[in-house]
């Protein structure tokens, strides 16, 4: 409020000129902002490129600032762990007892599966390779649900790759810089994930709507979907590996099913980026190479048109 003498004398001399410049400047800046909005719509690729470069410049700052935040979160989690040790111990013992039975069943199924596979020679999906990354920015806004990761091109990250946590699918990579990338969450308005109902095998597309519970679209009319049904990726379109856990049907109302994702968004700290490439159907020789070296596989777009390798 109290201007210094220097500033006031300067403004007295330059006031008229500044008035004009300010008015024009305001108009110019408003035009620039509107032009950006229009370009964002008409030349979204170019704008995305610019945004990636800008994020690249800010990412190191976020990376440094986010480190103490992550440490604090770990410290709080440690204290929580300490308090819950007794209860956790009890529930883990129960789980071990329950899961040991499952382990026996799984071993039997694994053997049976292997022997049946040997008879059939099915086309197998290449095993995905992993890139681990840390979340350095929670950038979800009113219209876009995204996060920034500290891995980029130099780590092998590419657009379209699936991003998971230990719990399930979190989303996909939409922007890649040299050292950073943007993860578009499942819940974003623009997120579309081809999924399968784990039991009925009905296919659908999981569409984000900016709410915490994305909805199932393109579900066949005869599909019987019930709350509690598990949903996994279908692998169609070749972007995501099939069988990744996505979530549980939380509600079915008027034929519209919503999914509760497995990922706990509050615990999104470290994520796994899957370097996965679907292999064209019938190309069994190539699949072995691809499995050995997923990095050298064909371009994502080339593979996606022929993907969909359900036996």
């Amino acid at each position: 409020m109290a201007k210094g003498p220097r500033l006031s004398s300067l403004s007295r001399v330059a006031a008229p000129a500044r008035g004009v410049a300010q008015r024009f400047g305001l108009l110019l800046l408003m035009t620039a902002a509107v032009a950006l909005l229009v370009l964002g719509k008409t030349h979204s690729d170019a704008i995305r490129h610019l945004r990636v470069m800008a994020v690249e410049a800010v990412a190191p700052v976020l990376e440094v600032l986010s480190a103490p935040v992550i440490s604090a979160r770990h410290a709080i989690a440690e204290i929580e762990n300490f308090w819950n040790t007794g209860r956790d111990n009890r529930s883990l013992r129960e789980q071990v007892a329950r899961l040991s039975k499952w382990q026996i069943i799984a071993r039997n199924l694994e053997q049976e599966n292997a022997s049946l596979r040997a008879l059939l020679v099915p086309v197998l999906d290449p095993a995905p390779q992993f890139i681990s990354a840390r979340v350095i920015g929670d950038t979800s806004g009113l219209f876009v649900q995204s996060a920034l990761l500290n891995a980029g091109k130099q780590d092998g990250v590419e657009r379209g790759q699936a991003v998971t946590t230990g719990q399930g699918l979190a989303g996909r990579v939409v922007e890649v810089g040299q050292r950073s990338s943007r993860l578009l969450l499942l819940t974003d308005l623009n997120s579309r994930v081809p999924v399968t109902m784990e039991h009925s095998r009905h296919r659908a597309v999981l569409a984000g709507d900016n709410s915490a519970r994305p909805r199932l679209t393109f579900l066949p009319a005869n599909a019987n979907v019930n709350p509690g049904d598990r949903v996994v990726t279908s692998g169609h379109a070749g972007v995501f590996p099939p069988g990744l856990p996505v979530g549980i049907v939380s509600s079915v109302m008027d034929g519209e099913a919503h999914i509760q994702p497995y990922v706990d968004w509050a615990r999104l700290e470290y994520v796994t980026i899957l370097r996965y490439r679907a292999v064209p159907v019938g190309d069994i020789e190539r699949r072995n190479e691809a499995a050995a070296d997923a990095a050298d596989a064909t371009a994502l777009d080339g593979a996606s048109s022929t993907a969909g390798t359900d036996p």
Binding site: M1, S11, Q22, G25, A32, V34, L142, V144, L189, N210
Partner: protein
């Protein structure tokens, strides 16, 4: 001679305080706290900060600074590019234009001013976002974030008022 050079440097630093504080607030809001919706604070803090400085130190928060801060929010959030830039320029324009009414009087007046100008900002935000996505965007989150912003204004304004001496010549 030397002291005047040091003076100029100090002035430059002082002039950069409002912009820097706003930028730090935006970045800090977007750190991964693991709290739901915590990042929604970023555009709200940007709005409060631009409003506050436009009212109380308009010469240190020019339209170009408001534009850059909006761009920072847009770039980081990945939302419609230029949307927050446009909104913050208009907030700056409205707040700086009415500063005689808003600055001198009681705190309640500047708070009310924020309520009105931020409401206008929310409407413009909604309009251009809907235009950009070519669909009527859900307005409830905007209304909620406007309400939270208005409720949080006194706290943030108190913090910014504490910072204000940094912008004055010592």
């Amino acid at each position: 001679m030397e002291s005047s050079l040091a003076n100029k440097a100090a002035n430059l630093v002082r002039a950069g305080v409002p912009f820097s504080i706003s930028a730090v607030l935006i970045l800090a809001a977007m750190l991964p706290y693991g709290l739901p919706k915590s990042s929604l604070a970023a555009p709200v803090l940007a709005l409060i900060s631009v409003y506050y400085w436009s009212v109380f130190r308009p010469e240190l928060m020019p339209a170009s600074a408001a534009f850059l801060l909006g761009l920072l929010v847009d770039v980081l959030s990945g939302g419609p590019p230029g949307l927050n830039a446009l909104v913050l320029i208009l907030v700056h324009w409205a707040a700086a234009g009415q500063r005689r009414t808003l600055a001198g009087k009681s705190f309640a007046v500047s708070w009310l001013g924020y309520l009105l100008i931020a409401a206008g900002a929310a409407v413009i935000n909604w309009f251009f976002a809907s235009l950009f996505h070519t669909t009527a965007i859900e307005s409830v989150p905007l209304v909620v974030s406007h309400a939270i912003g208005t409720a949080a204004y006194p706290l943030v304004a108190l913090f910014l008022a504490r910072m204000q001496p940094l912008t004055q010549q010592g």
